[in-house]
Amino acid sequence: MSTKTQPALNISSRRTFLRTLVLGSAYVAAFAAGCLRPIQLLAAEWNKAAFDAKVLAEALKNVGATSATESDQILLKAPEIAENGAIVPVEITSRIPGTQSIYIIADKNPQPLVAIFDITAGMEPFISTRIKMGESSKVRVLVKAAGKFYVATQEVKVTIGGCGG
């Protein structure tokens, strides 16, 4: 009789043990996930795939902008001729309601994606900055609003490239 009950007890205690183990590790995982989030206090991770992309199409794909509508509601100010590719001033104003993000791209740079600005409603959809351009190419500005992408471009002729040297 004891030989009959003994294994039964063993099995049940092993099950309890396993269940506790599984539940326990689930709690640990949940705890870790919950705890790690506040450390990564910034909203999104640096988009390595998009910034590392060597060609325009790949960069666009990695920011999720495979299709973008041309828009005259994006005002892009950049010089037609930039004497020095190391400092090309770019000024962007978006008149598209609900602008969430502004992307700056230099089509022919070794890595075309230059910058992503995520903005909240507490900001005017306006950014002015200075970028480097390796050679003459289009400067492309993407605006993301309500999950859709809009684009405006301007050709910038660069006299001296600003990436190497």
Partner: protein, 104 residues
């Protein structure tokens, strides 16, 4: 890092015109040291965050193609005298700096 940044914010009605200058080499990883000929490693600001009274209003991700000693100008809505505007950056080596100013 007191000398890592400069900020100027001006109230224009209820909008704050904020101009920030960050002192950083923004190395592309393509440049060679003119003396040794060694490639100067990639070193650039990756993240820039702006806050208005502690609330994030702009969160930017950058590549090495933002010009050396980056300059950025942006406009904050609904600003008033006494409000605090802060900007911080972090580069690919984990170096950080931040600066804060009060609107007047």
């Amino acid at each position: 890092m007191a000398d890592a940044m400069k900020i100027r914010a001006q109230l224009q009605g209820d909008m704050a015109d904020v101009k920030v200058l960050m002192f950083h080499p923004m190395e592309t990883g393509l440049r060679k040291d003119p003396v040794s000929g060694d490639v100067i490693p990639l070193h650039f600001i990756q993240r820039v965050v702006a806050t208005h009274n502690g609330k994030t209003v702009m969160d930017a991700q950058w590549s090495q193609a933002v010009s050396k000693n980056p300059f950025v100008n942006f406009h904050i809505r609904g600003a008033k005298a006494g409000d605090k505007v802060a900007v911080s950056w972090e580069d690919n080596k984990g170096e950080k700096a931040s600066i804060e100013t009060t609107l007047n």
